[in-house]
Amino acid sequence: MDYGISGRVAIVSGGSRGIGRAIATTFAREGAKVVIASRTQSNLEETLAELEEIAPGRVHAIAASMTDPASVDRVVAEARERFGPISIAISNVIGHVIDAAKEGSGPGAGTFEGMQTEAYREEFTQLLVSSWALARACVPDMQQQGWGRICNIGSGVAREPSTHLPHLLPNVVRPPVAGMHRLLAARLAPDGITVNNILTGSILTERNRSYWEWLARERNTSVAIETQDMTQRIPVGRFGEPEEMAAVVAFLCSDRAGMVTGQSIPVGGGGSAHL
């Protein structure tokens, strides 16, 4: 199927690893001009080299924080200068990691009883302000073209907060992010711009994999044993691959999906409970 995005300029934040990298790769294969941005230079270089093989001359990488609005503006300006007006914006920023030094701590770990409000603010910056800033910076180009695709890589907890894991922050901030994209969709529909949000379920990214590996080491078990319970809770009976996430995002960003906007779409093998 021709997705109709050949030649379009796409920005993927957090594009050097995991889901972001899978999305960038899919866009590159579909003929788009792809700009990836993330904080870690070494990850970026490695991913850029991979992408260059698929799409020589059509990829660019920028090392930058995608949570600071001024920095996001600079990334978008550089992307525009390099390839032209932006058509597709993927926001894909992970949440605030409370104790980065502690292996396996994961983003947003903490409880209501223990969490200080400063951390709520930090998570708000990471997840909401970042995606707002990217949309705001790209929307004028999209409006001018009368065509645009904004997609946020969110989390299933936006609709069904996980209460069995002590990860308070995403549970509190993911729903506002999903809601904000729904509201942006309503505002931007007349301009030919769609805005959607992915409710990410159990996808086996590198980050997820290293979490399970860490847990297995901690408990002196194996990844298979640690993931068994989780796998049983996923109706399709397995974790998803980042490429499966990328396939959905690519469709949403395609020319074919112009009528799909304002949606929060679960990609989690049927693991969501809401109707």
Partner: protein, 188 residues
């Protein structure tokens, strides 16, 4: 009906004076005692904490220029969290407590009257309430929201808030009651 609120200490916080006053009035009529938190402070003796989000009619996320406006909406959430957490130790000790947030019905239905910043803040509180419910729900503490829309009066809102504080609402937690006169069109 006896709502069993006699003598319960209630702390109300937020900047929406008229809504706060209506909540005080209706709860006092049920025998609750309104606790006055120091300005900008929290009240750790409260049995009931009611946090009312600031309404910013017509607010539009896309039109926001300064991120400070986003943070200002988020301050409503962190202020509510501060008020909730201040009261939590006592609630845990007595195995009874009520948290109620008053926010915007646009958090559930995009065709509600536009107040996008209030919707964003409210969605944060709805997520928080699920966490609170999972964490301290088994200890007699509930966390619910009243989402205001349409032409709801302050009394309409205060009545729903008061019900959520009552003994009869003990099995409701992590839920929302939309008080919008039926104007929102979403089923789920």
């Amino acid at each position: 009906m006896d709502l069993q609120l006699k003598g319960r200490l209630v702390s109300v916080c937020g900047t929406e004076e008229a809504t706060l006053a209506a909540c005080r009035r209706v709860l006092e009529a049920e025998g609750a005692v309104i606790a006055e938190a120091p300005p900008g402070g929290t009240y750790p003796e409260a049995d009931v904490v009611i946090a009312v989000g600031t309404s910013r009619p017509g607010s539009d996320v896309l039109a926001v220029i300064d991120p400070a406006d986003l943070y200002s909406a988020w301050d409503d959430v962190t202020n509510a969290v501060d008020a909730y957490r201040a009261a939590l130790p006592r609630m845990l000790a007595q195995q009874w407590g009520r948290f109620v947030w008053v926010g915007s019905s646009q958090a559930k239905s995009v065709d509600a009257e536009a107040d996008e910043l209030a919707a964003v803040a409210s969605l944060g509180m709805l997520g928080l309430h699920k966490v609170v419910t999972g964490e301290v729900g088994p200890r007699g503490i509930t966390a619910n929201a009243v989402l205001r829309g349409g032409a709801a009066t302050d009394e309409d809102v205060a009545d729903a808030v008061t019900f959520l504080c009552s003994a009869g609402a003990a099995y409701l937690s992590g839920i929302t009651i939309t008080v919008d006169g039926g104007t929102g069109s979403a089923i789920f």
